[in-house]
Amino acid sequence: MTPGDNTAKQSDAIPSEFEGAGKYVYCIIRLERSRDFGEIGIGGGARVYTVTHKDLAAVVSDTPIVIYDPTRENVLAHEFVNETVMREFTLIPMSFGTVFRSEKDVLALLNSTYQAFTDVLEKMQDKIEFGLKILWDRDKVVAAIERDNDEIRRLKDEITRNAASSTYFARMQLGRLVEAAMEEASNRYVTDVHEQLKDVSVASRSNKVIGDRMILNAAFLVDRNAEKPFDERVKAISRQYEDLLTFKYTGPWPPYNFVTIKLKLEKAT
């Protein structure tokens, strides 16, 4: 909303056009009473509270009708609310930036999607998500491969010994062998990590890797009771690979990667 808009509407402002009339929705929980989560909302600490319909509640804060950029600040505010709510409730996270024009529109969402929300809340009861990204240090992995792979070591020695006479072909072949060995190593690490986390998690999902150092970008759905064993297992694996791999372990999160409800929403103009 630009200052110009404000001036234009100043004289005949109607309630529905009021700046704070919009509702930013963070998540859906099961709760029949209303509840206040404090001034922790997006856009500089708006009050976070609930809009309830039967036994479902949308966790919201008031907002002007704006499009929120996914800046770190905004995304952290969104996540912080969900983290706070998650301490007490099983929740279905909403996509970042979902703004409804009014409380009535939020109630319409709860009403029209009541059954799907209820089913998913049932399935996600006491489940939390952990993120695990694994990065590798290319140089270290290559060094390990050269140490362990006889064929590569021999070829490399040969090339270094006869630097002047070693052929382009031999170098190409070495490159190809190293490349293949690295891919094989990456698959081996990833499979091993998944294998070791299998009995302490309910499900896992692999996302696209980011950048050129990442070999795994996964989310794990974990039972709240299994949080500690999962945690310990991740730490044990990261110790096992500490010379080669860097583990980025985050959570607990709401089950962002395991809940997909296609909401039939349209643009409100």
Partner: protein, 100 residues
Amino acid sequence: MGLLSNILLAPFLGPIYGTRWTLDKVDRVVREQLTDDTPIKEELMELQLKLETGEIDDPEYLRREAEIMQKLRDVRDWREKFGMSTSGGPVRVAEDDETE
């Protein structure tokens, strides 16, 4: 006569059709590039990772984040111009909603 006119006109028709086809294709490619925010979102995730791993510092992060936000806004504007769906902004439950 028909054949002859085809042959005679061919050099003129040819390039015209050719150009139009190319423009359509360029238009489609450009449109896809203008309206696809996937690479921009990947860029943002990569930037966050760089901050986490200490490759860049905070001021650098904020500077580049601002650039990426601008790109996302541009994509959103183009999507609106082409009448495509956008994420973020005010929404409501679609009125022709059917319960499944």
